[in-house]
């Protein structure tokens, strides 16, 4: 049974018109010349930054949009199945939510008391107020992955007022930061990507460090004040250094220490995040200054 297509054996040669009327046409249609031309033109335009940037942005938006359209039916089917499951367990879910609601109400009372106490103490100690943070929730469209870069595509962009380098969190903790912002779609660089660096501190030993992604699921702590003081099971939060991430946001827990390498298990379940929140520091020109400083302007 012929499962795979086989080439037909070439029949006898038939007389036909010369497909290459001249030597110039033969040269122009040569594979090597086309290859060299594409590489030369493409390569030279690659180093012309304004052109490269505009092409990169356009391609990013176009491909992200195509990918979101492509995965939409799959994600809708997934949601439908999830909803069906929820509907089947509605009674139990209602009971759980009621219980959680009561718990949150009591926590809210404590929170209000602490908030007013905090405000009074701040006033008495003359501590400068933190910058106000706005929040925007966005749906995760897709997370394309070929083993190199870890990122999400989210359904929000410049139209919603997002800007590069804004912090992105989930309900459980830090997810990453905005790496590229298009008009309607943005790319979130996850904290476990090899190029991600987040200033953090440990809760018990109070050691400041940088959380560096390594490409796998567990990022590591580098540039630590005193690594010997850090223990397994310690909570890690953002330190607020650098101005991108506000201080005190949960990041993860120290999972393993092997040969001086401290691995952190992130709180946010990066494989199963459906919605993320983008934190917006309300300060005009902050990101312009930051980008300028990073680019050495």
């Amino acid at each position: 049974m012929a499962f795979f297509v086989r080439h037909k054996k070439p029949g006898p040669l038939k007389p036909q018109a010369n497909p290459y009327p001249s030597r110039f046409y033969r040269w122009r249609n040569g594979l090597g010349v086309t290859f060299v031309l594409i590489v030369a033109i493409g390569g030279s335009l690659r180093f012309y930054k304004p052109f490269y940037d505009s092409v990169e942005t356009g391609l990013f938006e176009g491909t992200a949009w195509m990918q979101s359209v492509f995965v939409r039916p799959f994600s809708e089917t997934h949601d439908l199945l999830k909803d069906t499951y929820t509907f089947m367990n509605l009674k139990e879910e209602y009971g759980q939510l009621k219980q959680e609601n009561e718990k949150l109400r009591s926590q809210l009372q404590d929170l209000l008391r602490l908030q007013s106490e905090n405000a009074t103490l701040r006033q008495n100690l003359k501590v400068a107020a933190f910058e106000a943070y706005g929040q925007l929730s966005a749906r995760v469209l897709a997370s394309p992955y070929d083993g190199l870069h870890h990122f999400f595509l989210i359904a929000a962009g410049q139209k919603e007022g997002l800007a590069k380098n804004q912090a992105v969190i989930a309900r459980q903790g830090i997810v990453g930061r905005l790496e590229k912002v298009g008009k309607y779609v943005s790319r979130v660089l996850l904290l476990n990507d090899a190029s991600s660096r987040i200033p953090v501190k440990t809760m018990i030993s109070e050691q400041k460090a940088i959380l560096a992604g390594e490409g796998d699921f567990f990022p590591t702590l580098v540039y630590i004040g005193d690594a010997r003081k850090i223990q397994v099971g310690e909570k890690v939060v953002t330190s607020g250094v650098g101005g991108i991430f506000p201080p005190g946001i949960p990041v993860g827990i120290v999972d393993k220490i092997t040969n001086g390498k401290i691995r952190v298990r992130p709180y946010a379940p990066l494989q199963r995040v459906d919605f993320v929140f983008v934190l917006r520091i309300i300060s005009e020109g902050f990101y312009d200054d930051l980008s300028g400083a990073l680019e050495g302007k």
């Binding site: 795979f4 297509v5 080439h7 090597g32 493409g42 391609l59 990918q67 995965v71 190199l148 090899a194």
Partner: protein
């Protein structure tokens, strides 16, 4: 039926979009997964995958997967370039031979790709997935191929 001539190009784009969200056991199937249609069409119908289309597919891949623009384009065009000289030696009558040649091609591609791209990378698993998935995907592509033949 000129529109049918873009079928190989579309299969590449669909393989990239479908493969980018596909993970088996937590490991990605790309880039070896999208090399299957590249290899198949370069072996059987290289005339339908000109350098320009491979250049465009490479740009699409790089933009979607956040690589440096042009890296995949260059590798795909080199595949086409060398494939032009190697293709006459590939006998399409023996599937195992073609399958084995795909294993070698994908290994060379992934080696160069991992050398040029920075960061850690589950190179071996991707290569293995590519080899294992080749027969099923090539089976589907062969049906498209016969349909294209009937319109020629």
């Amino acid at each position: 039926m000129k529109l049918l001539k873009v079928t190989p190009f579309l299969t590449l784009i669909l393989a990239i979009m479908g493969g980018s969200s596909l993970r088996i056991g937590g490991c990605p199937v790309l880039p070896a997964f999208f090399l299957i249609p590249v290899y198949y069409w370069l072996v059987y119908r290289s005339d339908l995958l000109p350098l320009w289309s491979l250049f465009a597919v490479g740009l699409f891949y790089d933009a979607l997967l956040s690589h440096e623009l042009g890296l995949t384009s260059l590798f795909l065009m080199l595949s086409s370039f060398f494939g032009h000289y190697i293709r006459p030696y590939l006998t399409p009558y023996h599937f195992l031979f073609i399958w084995g040649a795909f294993g070698i091609y994908s290994f060379i591609y992934l080696t160069f790709f991992s050398l040029c791209a920075s960061g850690s990378w589950p190179f071996f698993t991707s290569w293995l997935y590519g080899i294992l998935l080749y027969p099923s995907l090539a089976y589907g592509l062969s049906h498209l191929h016969t349909r294209l033949h009937s319109y020629d």
